[in-house]
Subunit: 485 residues, 2 copies
């Protein structure tokens, strides 16, 4: 049962066995059960589901504030719709699950299970948008999507049925407004990941690897403890590609009809994988308080003769913390030891443990243990709420800082292929190499470094960065490469 | 544009054109767009989505309180799983959508899009349940389900992709506990529909029409304004049928292994159809405040020279009501008249309209109009919150009473086939006929009355109720029949 090392393991050492840890945590912290009898499909268990909900609450709040409205579309997309945008179908035809039969009869027209919903929104945008007064139209939905992955699948990271996908779809009157919305979406995602303390790199993806049907794509990546990069969010400028295919037009004030300009942006269940990975340690999960289903667990430490007094003190403390709006559990399970309770809640990433033993009751105090450092402090009972709230806020900040520092330490500027390879082989992370002007250099780098080009850093001005190691010409932008999930 | 009659139409008259009204309201109140290019599939629009969310919040709260936990399962169910319970697959094989291809390749094993999830939960319950300490296990999820309907489809009522389905699945140690849970589930649904003011009849469904794989099924029905019945919730006792098929066992305290006992219960998007129908009138929707996305709309009534003063009074009032926790809109759209605003919000069912004109400002008062009666009252500004809250609570109560009175008036005890037919032909609703002891009488009644047997009233003791009009024998239970959706 006690299967996680609890010694002071270094982050590097822990990172080397990250794959095992991740699998075990999905199971032991009851996040997702991957034994469902369809390959690449898993079940969100109650504790995982609550984390998922708290995470989605944040992105919903941010999108709503920024004028998006939530909708819900069907899963099924007819073959003729999904095929309307040529690049799009080319990018997805190998990846679609197809429904061909209703009952025992073959369907007249095959239906795809949405791999993403641009082509489901297309015909409806055409109906909903009449005039400039209808613009901008900014919609989103939280749904499942389906990709027939032929690569190795992995819970939350690469699944055939992605159970958690937030996709926003917007229409605008001008190219400038669409461009501005791309910036706004990037800003929303920054704030979202900042809330979760997940560090990120923002890159403009290379031409050959943009979203099928987009003009350009921007991706957020984080670095996992094993040194591999994980794409955790994308923002796409679709230009008029889908508007043209679906004839989505609006009437301008001057009476002319124009095609709209579109953007879309998505975040998936991967964010929960990243959350587990960037904050976790060898004891288990470490959850930022904002998304912790249980923020404080109160554990009575019974000694013979004091069982009742510590238990009732623990229950009083639980009620008081709950009244202050905190998500609290009081763990009074009779048949397991305090040590087993500590272990149980640590594994689940509960940010603060409050212990109450006979000494605490006597001194009218509580003992606090914060999950990230396992540091113990005490506070008088009458200032318990204040002490817990301060500790939660300190922990939130500490997690974010630790995670950012670790990621920054794993992004390295290099100048040769050999150096790039060596860094990725030894410590992983992301390397930045001066990149030649055309796609050919990037693709050749991918082959020679044995890594994937994530793209060029977003929001940097072009300036000389050294010679491209492939073509030798002076480059004005770096290319980021990583061994990617 | 103004397409709803606003004269004082009687409920009966309005009911006769209910079908048209319903379609128009889905569109004009922006609930669901049914023009999506797959037959039987529609899109939840932003306003409808908000109603849906508020409705789901209630059922989630009730289920959570009663010890259920939310989970999320995949959509895809492999053919061999769905076929494990013989009655179940027999009931659903004609109705399943089948996924046969991944990309361009045929799949080794066909995958069904869940028509319901007993057979998805089955293999996982088997893994999750070890001992009596794991029981009861009460889970639920809110998902989409798929039925290849060959009958006429209708938005929210009969769809091929049902976008909103709350399904609970439970496992228990004994038959008695499962039976008790059926009662508890019926109680939860009662409270749920009571919150929404939706009246219901609870019937035990006839043997020939129970859920495929259940021992027995209980259904909640309401009566729509056109006199047809609509099933809005079901609770099933599954006995050990699925436990046997999936080998879901637990270890008893004495070490023996036993099969679990199961129940399941579901509610779908139909509840929103019922909500629209039972409270609506010829002006549009009438929403119970608890599920109204906008509970109060404040409309300034500008007169020349007073535009600014009424507008700022309206905005102050809006802020005050919002501070009190109400969902408020202040409609200051410049280019439409107050009359158009009234019409717009009435159609959307906003429970209370607050009007503020120059006279109101002068007298330091507000004018209140309640949506159900369109009655106008006024209240001093300093008691606005109190007045609005009282009116919301009165309206909630009045809606519930009106709806129950109307439904009760449409349930009629009759004793002959002719009478039954005549009542259903003339006014619709539900008729109750003494029912013979076996299924044959009921089935024959269905044919002769041209209606569907809903079942026998739940929670009544068997007692003589007159001779069965089919077999002539003294019956101890009535059968409910209706023209059903």
């Amino acid at each position: 049962m006690v299967s996680i090392a609890t010694g002071g393991v270094s982050r590097e050492e822990w990172g080397r066995s990250f794959g095992d840890w991740y699998r075990r945590m999905l199971d032991e912290a009851e996040i997702m059960d991957y034994r469902y009898p369809v390959k690449g499909c898993g079940v969100w268990r109650p504790y995982g589901f609550r984390i998922r909900k708290l995470v989605l609450d944040i992105i919903r709040e941010l999108l709503d504030e920024a004028g998006h409205q939530e909708v819900l579309f069907p899963t099924l997309i007819p073959e003729d719709m999904i095929a309307k945008e040529a690049q799009h179908i080319k990018g997805f035809e190998e990846e679609c699950f197809w429904v061909t039969h209703g009952g025992l009869r073959p369907l007249g027209l095959k239906l795809a299970l949405r791999p993403t919903s641009e082509t489901a929104f297309g015909p409806m945008f055409k109906l909903w948008i009449r005039s400039h007064a209808d613009l901008p139209m900014k919609l989103y939905q939280v749904v499942n999507i389906f990709r027939y992955e032929t690569k190795a699948t992995r819970p939350l990271i690469r699944m055939r049925e992605v159970l958690t996908f937030k996709e926003a779809h917007t229409c605008h009157a001008t190219a400038e407004e669409a461009e501005r919305n791309v910036r706004e979406a990037v800003g929303i995602y920054r704030r979202f990941f900042d809330e979760l303390g997940i560090p990120y790199l923002i890159s403009r993806r290379p031409e050959w690897d943009k979203f099928p049907g987009a003009i350009y794509s921007i991706a957020f990546e984080t670095i996992m403890p094993d040194g591999r990069s994980l794409q955790i969010g994308t923002v796409h400028n679709l230009g008029q590609n889908f508007a043209r295919a679906f004839e989505i037009t609006y009437e301008r004030p001057d009476g002319r009809h124009e095609l709209v300009w579109q953007t879309c942006y998505g975040i998936s269940g991967r964010v929960v994988a990243a959350l587990m990975a960037v904050h976790g340690d060898d004891h288990g999960l470490v959850l930022p308080p904002r998304v912790a289903p249980v923020q404080v667990v109160v554990v009575p430490i019974p000694y013979k003769g004091y069982e009742e007094v510590v238990r009732s003190a623990a229950e009083r403390m639980g009620s008081e913390l709950a009244r202050a709006g905190l998500r609290v559990e009081v763990d009074i399970r009779p048949d397991i030891t305090p040590g087993e309770k500590f272990y149980y809640w640590e594994r689940r990433g509960v940010p603060i443990r409050v212990e109450i033993g006979p000494r605490d009751v006597e001194k009218n105090q509580i003992t606090l243990v914060r999950r990230d450092t396992l540091e113990r402090t005490s506070a008088p009972v009458e200032r318990a709420v204040e002490a817990v709230e301060r500790l939660l806020s300190d922990l939130t900040e500490a997690l974010r800082e630790r995670a950012w520092a670790w990621m920054r330490g794993h992004v390295k500027a290099v100048s040769t292929i050999e150096e790039a390879r060596d860094v990725l082989d030894r410590v992983g992370g992301v390397v930045e190499l001066p990149g030649g002007g055309d796609g050919e250099c990037g693709r050749q780098m991918e082959a020679e470094v044995d890594a994937r080009v994530l793209g060029t850093p977003e929001d940097t001005e072009p300036k000389p960065v050294g010679p491209c190691p492939i073509c030798g010409r002076q480059a004005v932008d770096v290319l980021r490469l990583a061994r990617a999930y």
